[in-house]
Symmetry: C2
Subunit: 226 residues, 2 copies
Protein backbone atom coordinates (compact mmCIF):
# COMPACT_ATOMS: atom_id res chain seq x y z
CA UNK A 1 0.00 0.00 0.00
CA UNK A 2 1.25 3.39 -0.92
CA UNK A 3 1.06 5.90 1.89
CA UNK A 4 -1.21 8.93 1.37
CA UNK A 5 0.49 11.40 -0.98
CA UNK A 6 2.71 13.81 0.93
CA UNK A 7 0.61 16.83 -0.11
CA UNK A 8 3.36 18.75 -1.85
CA UNK A 9 3.48 22.09 -0.05
CA UNK A 10 3.76 24.25 -3.16
CA UNK A 11 0.63 22.54 -4.41
CA UNK A 12 -1.59 24.37 -1.94
CA UNK A 13 -0.95 27.63 -3.74
CA UNK A 14 -2.17 26.11 -6.96
CA UNK A 15 -5.23 24.57 -5.34
CA UNK A 16 -6.13 27.96 -3.89
CA UNK A 17 -5.84 29.62 -7.29
CA UNK A 18 -8.05 27.05 -8.96
CA UNK A 19 -10.63 27.26 -6.20
CA UNK A 20 -10.49 31.04 -6.50
CA UNK A 21 -11.14 30.90 -10.26
CA UNK A 22 -14.16 28.67 -9.73
CA UNK A 23 -15.61 30.69 -6.88
CA UNK A 24 -14.94 34.14 -8.28
CA UNK A 25 -16.48 33.04 -11.58
CA UNK A 26 -19.60 31.82 -9.81
CA UNK A 27 -20.16 34.66 -7.36
CA UNK A 28 -18.05 37.61 -8.42
CA UNK A 29 -15.34 39.32 -6.42
CA UNK A 30 -17.62 40.63 -3.71
CA UNK A 31 -19.82 37.58 -3.58
CA UNK A 32 -16.98 35.14 -3.01
CA UNK A 33 -15.45 34.82 0.45
CA UNK A 34 -11.95 33.66 1.24
CA UNK A 35 -13.32 31.13 3.69
CA UNK A 36 -15.37 29.50 0.96
CA UNK A 37 -12.43 29.52 -1.42
CA UNK A 38 -10.12 28.02 1.18
CA UNK A 39 -12.65 25.36 2.06
CA UNK A 40 -12.95 24.45 -1.61
CA UNK A 41 -9.18 24.15 -1.82
CA UNK A 42 -9.12 22.13 1.40
CA UNK A 43 -6.85 24.73 2.91
CA UNK A 44 -6.92 27.27 5.68
CA UNK A 45 -8.21 30.73 4.93
CA UNK A 46 -5.16 32.31 6.53
CA UNK A 47 -3.12 30.96 3.64
CA UNK A 48 -4.76 33.46 1.32
CA UNK A 49 -2.99 36.24 3.16
CA UNK A 50 0.15 34.18 3.59
CA UNK A 51 0.58 33.30 -0.07
CA UNK A 52 -1.03 36.26 -1.85
CA UNK A 53 -1.12 39.07 0.67
CA UNK A 54 -4.90 39.07 0.83
CA UNK A 55 -8.05 38.59 -1.16
CA UNK A 56 -7.08 41.14 -3.78
CA UNK A 57 -3.72 39.50 -4.32
CA UNK A 58 -5.38 36.13 -4.79
CA UNK A 59 -7.71 37.64 -7.35
CA UNK A 60 -4.83 39.20 -9.25
CA UNK A 61 -2.91 35.95 -9.20
CA UNK A 62 -5.93 34.00 -10.42
CA UNK A 63 -6.28 36.32 -13.39
CA UNK A 64 -2.55 36.09 -14.09
CA UNK A 65 -2.78 32.34 -14.00
CA UNK A 66 -5.53 32.38 -16.59
CA UNK A 67 -3.72 34.86 -18.77
CA UNK A 68 -0.50 32.87 -18.74
CA UNK A 69 -2.27 29.64 -19.65
CA UNK A 70 -4.40 31.04 -22.46
CA UNK A 71 -2.02 33.47 -24.09
CA UNK A 72 0.04 30.73 -25.66
CA UNK A 73 -2.87 29.20 -27.56
CA UNK A 74 -3.23 32.08 -29.99
CA UNK A 75 0.43 31.83 -30.84
CA UNK A 76 -0.05 28.28 -32.11
CA UNK A 77 -1.89 29.60 -35.16
CA UNK A 78 0.26 30.14 -38.26
CA UNK A 79 1.47 33.75 -38.36
CA UNK A 80 -0.45 36.25 -40.48
CA UNK A 81 1.10 36.80 -43.92
CA UNK A 82 3.20 39.82 -44.81
CA UNK A 83 1.08 42.53 -46.43
CA UNK A 84 1.92 42.65 -50.13
CA UNK A 85 3.45 39.19 -50.27
CA UNK A 86 2.17 36.95 -53.09
CA UNK A 87 -1.15 35.34 -52.26
CA UNK A 88 -1.36 37.30 -49.02
CA UNK A 89 -5.05 37.90 -49.49
CA UNK A 90 -5.94 34.25 -49.84
CA UNK A 91 -3.73 33.33 -46.89
CA UNK A 92 -5.33 36.06 -44.78
CA UNK A 93 -8.77 34.75 -45.69
CA UNK A 94 -7.88 31.29 -44.48
CA UNK A 95 -6.16 32.84 -41.46
CA UNK A 96 -9.34 34.63 -40.47
CA UNK A 97 -11.30 31.40 -40.69
CA UNK A 98 -8.75 29.65 -38.53
CA UNK A 99 -8.77 32.52 -36.05
CA UNK A 100 -12.53 32.48 -35.63
CA UNK A 101 -12.47 28.75 -35.10
CA UNK A 102 -9.75 29.07 -32.49
CA UNK A 103 -11.53 31.94 -30.78
CA UNK A 104 -14.80 30.06 -30.53
CA UNK A 105 -13.26 26.85 -29.27
CA UNK A 106 -11.19 28.82 -26.78
CA UNK A 107 -14.28 30.51 -25.41
CA UNK A 108 -16.60 27.54 -25.49
CA UNK A 109 -14.23 25.14 -23.75
CA UNK A 110 -16.63 22.53 -22.50
CA UNK A 111 -17.28 22.50 -18.75
CA UNK A 112 -17.13 18.73 -18.85
CA UNK A 113 -13.54 18.80 -20.11
CA UNK A 114 -12.17 21.24 -17.60
CA UNK A 115 -14.41 22.91 -15.10
CA UNK A 116 -11.67 25.38 -14.30
CA UNK A 117 -11.15 26.35 -17.95
CA UNK A 118 -14.82 27.12 -18.39
CA UNK A 119 -14.92 29.16 -15.19
CA UNK A 120 -11.79 30.98 -16.25
CA UNK A 121 -13.35 32.19 -19.48
CA UNK A 122 -16.51 33.21 -17.64
CA UNK A 123 -14.36 35.18 -15.25
CA UNK A 124 -12.46 36.90 -18.06
CA UNK A 125 -15.71 37.74 -19.78
CA UNK A 126 -17.05 39.35 -16.67
CA UNK A 127 -13.85 41.27 -16.11
CA UNK A 128 -13.92 42.67 -19.63
CA UNK A 129 -17.38 44.00 -18.98
CA UNK A 130 -16.70 45.29 -15.50
CA UNK A 131 -13.03 45.38 -14.68
CA UNK A 132 -11.98 45.20 -11.08
CA UNK A 133 -9.44 47.96 -10.39
CA UNK A 134 -6.80 45.31 -9.87
CA UNK A 135 -7.27 43.53 -13.16
CA UNK A 136 -6.81 46.13 -15.87
CA UNK A 137 -3.12 45.47 -16.62
CA UNK A 138 -3.54 41.70 -16.67
CA UNK A 139 -6.59 42.00 -18.87
CA UNK A 140 -4.96 44.26 -21.41
CA UNK A 141 -2.03 41.90 -21.75
CA UNK A 142 -4.45 39.01 -22.16
CA UNK A 143 -6.51 40.63 -24.88
CA UNK A 144 -3.72 42.20 -26.90
CA UNK A 145 -2.61 39.14 -28.92
CA UNK A 146 -6.21 38.44 -29.89
CA UNK A 147 -6.71 42.02 -31.03
CA UNK A 148 -3.47 42.30 -32.93
CA UNK A 149 -4.02 39.07 -34.76
CA UNK A 150 -7.35 40.24 -36.15
CA UNK A 151 -6.01 43.68 -36.97
CA UNK A 152 -3.10 42.19 -38.91
CA UNK A 153 -5.48 40.07 -40.97
CA UNK A 154 -7.87 42.97 -41.51
CA UNK A 155 -5.14 45.21 -42.83
CA UNK A 156 -4.71 42.73 -45.67
CA UNK A 157 -8.38 41.97 -46.28
CA UNK A 158 -9.44 45.61 -46.07
CA UNK A 159 -6.40 47.69 -47.13
CA UNK A 160 -8.73 50.63 -47.78
CA UNK A 161 -9.92 50.97 -44.17
CA UNK A 162 -8.65 53.64 -41.79
CA UNK A 163 -7.61 52.70 -38.22
CA UNK A 164 -10.96 53.56 -36.63
CA UNK A 165 -12.79 51.43 -39.20
CA UNK A 166 -10.38 48.57 -38.53
CA UNK A 167 -11.12 48.82 -34.82
CA UNK A 168 -14.86 48.76 -35.42
CA UNK A 169 -14.56 45.71 -37.65
CA UNK A 170 -12.43 43.93 -35.09
CA UNK A 171 -14.92 44.63 -32.35
CA UNK A 172 -17.85 43.44 -34.44
CA UNK A 173 -16.14 40.14 -35.18
CA UNK A 174 -15.07 39.49 -31.62
CA UNK A 175 -18.16 41.07 -30.12
CA UNK A 176 -20.69 38.68 -31.58
CA UNK A 177 -18.64 35.73 -30.35
CA UNK A 178 -17.93 37.18 -26.92
CA UNK A 179 -21.53 38.16 -26.40
CA UNK A 180 -22.52 34.69 -27.39
CA UNK A 181 -20.25 33.17 -24.79
CA UNK A 182 -20.97 35.66 -22.02
CA UNK A 183 -24.72 35.50 -22.40
CA UNK A 184 -25.01 31.80 -23.04
CA UNK A 185 -27.09 31.18 -19.94
CA UNK A 186 -29.47 33.96 -20.81
CA UNK A 187 -29.71 32.88 -24.44
CA UNK A 188 -30.70 29.40 -23.33
CA UNK A 189 -33.45 30.90 -21.23
CA UNK A 190 -34.61 33.09 -24.09
CA UNK A 191 -34.63 30.39 -26.72
CA UNK A 192 -36.07 27.81 -24.35
CA UNK A 193 -33.38 25.38 -25.47
CA UNK A 194 -31.28 24.39 -22.44
CA UNK A 195 -28.51 22.79 -24.49
CA UNK A 196 -28.11 25.37 -27.20
CA UNK A 197 -25.94 25.31 -29.24
CA UNK A 198 -26.43 21.69 -30.15
CA UNK A 199 -23.98 21.93 -33.06
CA UNK A 200 -20.76 23.78 -32.32
CA UNK A 201 -19.47 23.22 -35.84
CA UNK A 202 -22.50 24.94 -37.35
CA UNK A 203 -21.97 27.82 -34.95
CA UNK A 204 -18.36 28.25 -36.05
CA UNK A 205 -19.49 28.16 -39.65
CA UNK A 206 -22.08 30.82 -38.89
CA UNK A 207 -19.60 33.17 -37.23
CA UNK A 208 -17.20 32.69 -40.13
CA UNK A 209 -19.81 33.39 -42.79
CA UNK A 210 -21.35 36.32 -40.97
CA UNK A 211 -18.00 37.92 -40.26
CA UNK A 212 -16.44 37.50 -43.69
CA UNK A 213 -19.58 38.83 -45.35
CA UNK A 214 -19.75 41.61 -42.80
CA UNK A 215 -16.19 42.56 -43.63
CA UNK A 216 -17.22 43.03 -47.23
CA UNK A 217 -14.88 40.36 -48.51
CA UNK A 218 -16.22 39.54 -51.98
CA UNK A 219 -15.02 35.95 -51.90
CA UNK A 220 -17.36 35.15 -49.03
CA UNK A 221 -20.50 36.55 -50.52
CA UNK A 222 -21.84 35.22 -53.79
CA UNK A 223 -22.95 31.71 -52.95
CA UNK A 224 -24.99 32.43 -49.88
CA UNK A 225 -28.23 33.76 -51.33
CA UNK A 226 -30.46 32.19 -53.98
Amino acid sequence: MTPPPPELPQDTRHRLIEAAILTFAEKGYDGAGIREIAQRAKANSALVTYHFGGKEGLYREALRHISARKASEVATLPPPPEPGSPGAREVALQGMKAYIRAFVTDLMSCPAESEVDAAAMALIGREIQMPHPVSAPVLLEFARPYMERVLALLRILRPDADPETLLRLTLSIQGQILHFRNSLGFIRLLSGDPDFPKDLEALIQHFTDFSLRGLGVPEAFPQTRP
Copy 2:
Protein backbone atom coordinates in the same frame (compact mmCIF):
# COMPACT_ATOMS: atom_id res chain seq x y z
CA MET B 1 -38.31 82.83 -0.96
CA THR B 2 -39.96 79.51 -1.57
CA PRO B 3 -39.76 77.14 1.33
CA PRO B 4 -37.83 73.93 0.76
CA PRO B 5 -39.93 71.60 -1.38
CA PRO B 6 -42.28 69.51 0.75
CA GLU B 7 -40.49 66.30 -0.24
CA LEU B 8 -43.52 64.47 -1.52
CA PRO B 9 -43.78 61.45 0.69
CA GLN B 10 -44.32 58.87 -2.04
CA ASP B 11 -41.23 60.29 -3.69
CA THR B 12 -38.91 58.55 -1.28
CA ARG B 13 -39.69 55.21 -2.85
CA HIS B 14 -38.68 56.55 -6.24
CA ARG B 15 -35.52 58.14 -4.92
CA LEU B 16 -34.55 54.82 -3.37
CA ILE B 17 -35.08 53.01 -6.65
CA GLU B 18 -32.97 55.47 -8.60
CA ALA B 19 -30.21 55.38 -6.02
CA ALA B 20 -30.37 51.60 -6.15
CA ILE B 21 -29.98 51.57 -9.93
CA LEU B 22 -26.93 53.79 -9.71
CA THR B 23 -25.30 51.90 -6.88
CA PHE B 24 -26.06 48.38 -8.11
CA ALA B 25 -24.74 49.35 -11.53
CA GLU B 26 -21.51 50.62 -10.05
CA LYS B 27 -20.78 47.89 -7.52
CA GLY B 28 -22.99 44.92 -8.31
CA TYR B 29 -25.52 43.29 -6.06
CA ASP B 30 -23.06 42.07 -3.48
CA GLY B 31 -20.85 45.13 -3.59
CA ALA B 32 -23.64 47.60 -2.90
CA GLY B 33 -24.91 48.05 0.64
CA ILE B 34 -28.34 49.29 1.62
CA ARG B 35 -26.80 51.97 3.84
CA GLU B 36 -24.95 53.43 0.88
CA ILE B 37 -28.07 53.30 -1.28
CA ALA B 38 -30.18 54.95 1.38
CA GLN B 39 -27.62 57.66 1.95
CA ARG B 40 -27.55 58.38 -1.77
CA ALA B 41 -31.34 58.70 -1.75
CA LYS B 42 -31.19 60.87 1.35
CA ALA B 43 -33.36 58.34 3.12
CA ASN B 44 -33.05 55.94 5.99
CA SER B 45 -31.82 52.42 5.39
CA ALA B 46 -34.78 51.04 7.32
CA LEU B 47 -37.01 52.18 4.48
CA VAL B 48 -35.54 49.53 2.23
CA THR B 49 -37.18 46.90 4.36
CA TYR B 50 -40.23 49.07 4.86
CA HIS B 51 -40.93 49.63 1.16
CA PHE B 52 -39.46 46.60 -0.54
CA GLY B 53 -39.17 43.96 2.12
CA GLY B 54 -35.40 43.92 1.96
CA LYS B 55 -32.42 44.29 -0.31
CA GLU B 56 -33.59 41.64 -2.75
CA GLY B 57 -36.98 43.28 -3.10
CA LEU B 58 -35.35 46.60 -3.84
CA TYR B 59 -33.20 44.97 -6.50
CA ARG B 60 -36.20 43.33 -8.12
CA GLU B 61 -38.12 46.60 -8.09
CA ALA B 62 -35.21 48.48 -9.60
CA LEU B 63 -35.05 46.03 -12.49
CA ARG B 64 -38.79 46.24 -12.96
CA HIS B 65 -38.56 50.01 -13.05
CA ILE B 66 -35.98 49.84 -15.81
CA SER B 67 -37.94 47.29 -17.77
CA ALA B 68 -41.14 49.30 -17.61
CA ARG B 69 -39.44 52.48 -18.76
CA LYS B 70 -37.45 50.98 -21.64
CA ALA B 71 -39.91 48.50 -23.06
CA SER B 72 -42.05 51.19 -24.60
CA GLU B 73 -39.26 52.64 -26.74
CA VAL B 74 -39.09 49.67 -29.09
CA ALA B 75 -42.79 49.92 -29.72
CA THR B 76 -42.41 53.42 -31.14
CA LEU B 77 -40.76 51.97 -34.24
CA PRO B 78 -43.11 51.32 -37.16
CA PRO B 79 -44.33 47.72 -37.04
CA PRO B 80 -42.56 45.15 -39.20
CA PRO B 81 -44.31 44.46 -42.50
CA GLU B 82 -46.48 41.42 -43.13
CA PRO B 83 -44.49 38.65 -44.79
CA GLY B 84 -45.58 38.41 -48.41
CA SER B 85 -47.09 41.87 -48.59
CA PRO B 86 -46.01 44.01 -51.57
CA GLY B 87 -42.63 45.62 -51.04
CA ALA B 88 -42.22 43.78 -47.75
CA ARG B 89 -38.57 43.15 -48.44
CA GLU B 90 -37.69 46.80 -48.96
CA VAL B 91 -39.72 47.82 -45.90
CA ALA B 92 -37.98 45.18 -43.82
CA LEU B 93 -34.61 46.43 -45.01
CA GLN B 94 -35.41 49.94 -43.85
CA GLY B 95 -36.94 48.51 -40.69
CA MET B 96 -33.69 46.74 -39.85
CA LYS B 97 -31.74 49.95 -40.32
CA ALA B 98 -34.16 51.80 -38.04
CA TYR B 99 -33.97 49.02 -35.47
CA ILE B 100 -30.19 49.06 -35.33
CA ARG B 101 -30.22 52.82 -34.93
CA ALA B 102 -32.75 52.61 -32.10
CA PHE B 103 -30.87 49.78 -30.42
CA VAL B 104 -27.57 51.67 -30.48
CA THR B 105 -29.03 54.94 -29.24
CA ASP B 106 -30.93 53.07 -26.53
CA LEU B 107 -27.76 51.42 -25.31
CA MET B 108 -25.44 54.38 -25.68
CA SER B 109 -27.68 56.85 -23.88
CA CYS B 110 -25.20 59.52 -22.89
CA PRO B 111 -24.40 59.69 -19.16
CA ALA B 112 -24.62 63.45 -19.41
CA GLU B 113 -28.26 63.25 -20.45
CA SER B 114 -29.45 60.92 -17.75
CA GLU B 115 -27.03 59.35 -15.36
CA VAL B 116 -29.70 56.91 -14.25
CA ASP B 117 -30.46 55.78 -17.81
CA ALA B 118 -26.83 55.02 -18.44
CA ALA B 119 -26.52 53.11 -15.18
CA ALA B 120 -29.72 51.24 -15.97
CA MET B 121 -28.32 49.89 -19.22
CA ALA B 122 -25.07 48.96 -17.56
CA LEU B 123 -27.07 47.08 -14.95
CA ILE B 124 -29.12 45.25 -17.56
CA GLY B 125 -25.96 44.34 -19.44
CA ARG B 126 -24.46 42.86 -16.34
CA GLU B 127 -27.61 40.96 -15.52
CA ILE B 128 -27.75 39.44 -18.99
CA GLN B 129 -24.26 38.10 -18.51
CA MET B 130 -24.71 36.97 -14.94
CA PRO B 131 -28.35 36.89 -13.88
CA HIS B 132 -29.20 37.23 -10.24
CA PRO B 133 -31.71 34.51 -9.30
CA VAL B 134 -34.30 37.21 -8.70
CA SER B 135 -34.00 38.85 -12.10
CA ALA B 136 -34.64 36.13 -14.66
CA PRO B 137 -38.37 36.79 -15.22
CA VAL B 138 -37.97 40.55 -15.44
CA LEU B 139 -35.04 40.17 -17.79
CA LEU B 140 -36.84 37.83 -20.15
CA GLU B 141 -39.78 40.18 -20.41
CA PHE B 142 -37.38 43.03 -21.06
CA ALA B 143 -35.50 41.31 -23.86
CA ARG B 144 -38.42 39.67 -25.65
CA PRO B 145 -39.64 42.67 -27.69
CA TYR B 146 -36.11 43.32 -28.92
CA MET B 147 -35.68 39.72 -29.96
CA GLU B 148 -39.05 39.35 -31.64
CA ARG B 149 -38.62 42.53 -33.62
CA VAL B 150 -35.38 41.29 -35.17
CA LEU B 151 -36.78 37.82 -35.78
CA ALA B 152 -39.80 39.26 -37.59
CA LEU B 153 -37.57 41.29 -39.88
CA LEU B 154 -35.21 38.38 -40.47
CA ARG B 155 -38.02 36.07 -41.53
CA ILE B 156 -38.63 38.47 -44.41
CA LEU B 157 -35.03 39.20 -45.27
CA ARG B 158 -33.95 35.57 -45.02
CA PRO B 159 -37.04 33.48 -45.80
CA ASP B 160 -34.76 30.51 -46.50
CA ALA B 161 -33.36 30.29 -42.98
CA ASP B 162 -34.45 27.70 -40.43
CA PRO B 163 -35.25 28.75 -36.84
CA GLU B 164 -31.79 27.95 -35.44
CA THR B 165 -30.14 30.00 -38.18
CA LEU B 166 -32.50 32.88 -37.48
CA LEU B 167 -31.52 32.76 -33.82
CA ARG B 168 -27.83 32.79 -34.66
CA LEU B 169 -28.27 35.75 -36.98
CA THR B 170 -30.24 37.64 -34.35
CA LEU B 171 -27.56 37.02 -31.77
CA SER B 172 -24.79 38.14 -34.09
CA ILE B 173 -26.53 41.43 -34.83
CA GLN B 174 -27.36 42.21 -31.23
CA GLY B 175 -24.18 40.69 -29.91
CA GLN B 176 -21.77 43.01 -31.62
CA ILE B 177 -23.73 46.01 -30.36
CA LEU B 178 -24.21 44.70 -26.84
CA HIS B 179 -20.57 43.74 -26.54
CA PHE B 180 -19.67 47.17 -27.71
CA ARG B 181 -21.76 48.77 -25.03
CA ASN B 182 -20.86 46.39 -22.23
CA SER B 183 -17.16 46.52 -22.87
CA LEU B 184 -16.90 50.19 -23.67
CA GLY B 185 -14.63 50.93 -20.75
CA PHE B 186 -12.31 48.11 -21.68
CA ILE B 187 -12.31 49.06 -25.35
CA ARG B 188 -11.25 52.56 -24.46
CA LEU B 189 -8.38 51.13 -22.49
CA LEU B 190 -7.40 48.83 -25.32
CA SER B 191 -7.54 51.44 -28.04
CA GLY B 192 -5.97 54.10 -25.87
CA ASP B 193 -8.71 56.49 -26.90
CA PRO B 194 -10.61 57.59 -23.79
CA ASP B 195 -13.51 59.13 -25.69
CA PHE B 196 -14.09 56.45 -28.27
CA PRO B 197 -16.38 56.45 -30.18
CA LYS B 198 -15.96 60.02 -31.26
CA ASP B 199 -18.60 59.70 -33.97
CA LEU B 200 -21.76 57.88 -32.94
CA GLU B 201 -23.28 58.30 -36.39
CA ALA B 202 -20.36 56.54 -38.02
CA LEU B 203 -20.73 53.74 -35.49
CA ILE B 204 -24.40 53.28 -36.31
CA GLN B 205 -23.52 53.21 -39.99
CA HIS B 206 -20.89 50.59 -39.30
CA PHE B 207 -23.24 48.30 -37.39
CA THR B 208 -25.84 48.68 -40.13
CA ASP B 209 -23.40 47.88 -42.95
CA PHE B 210 -21.75 45.02 -41.11
CA SER B 211 -25.05 43.45 -40.11
CA LEU B 212 -26.82 43.74 -43.46
CA ARG B 213 -23.81 42.35 -45.28
CA GLY B 214 -23.47 39.67 -42.63
CA LEU B 215 -27.09 38.70 -43.17
CA GLY B 216 -26.31 38.11 -46.82
CA VAL B 217 -28.70 40.77 -48.04
CA PRO B 218 -27.57 41.46 -51.63
CA GLU B 219 -28.75 45.07 -51.59
CA ALA B 220 -26.24 45.98 -48.91
CA PHE B 221 -23.20 44.53 -50.58
CA PRO B 222 -22.08 45.74 -53.99
CA GLN B 223 -20.95 49.29 -53.37
CA THR B 224 -18.76 48.73 -50.37
CA ARG B 225 -15.61 47.30 -51.96
CA PRO B 226 -13.52 48.76 -54.77
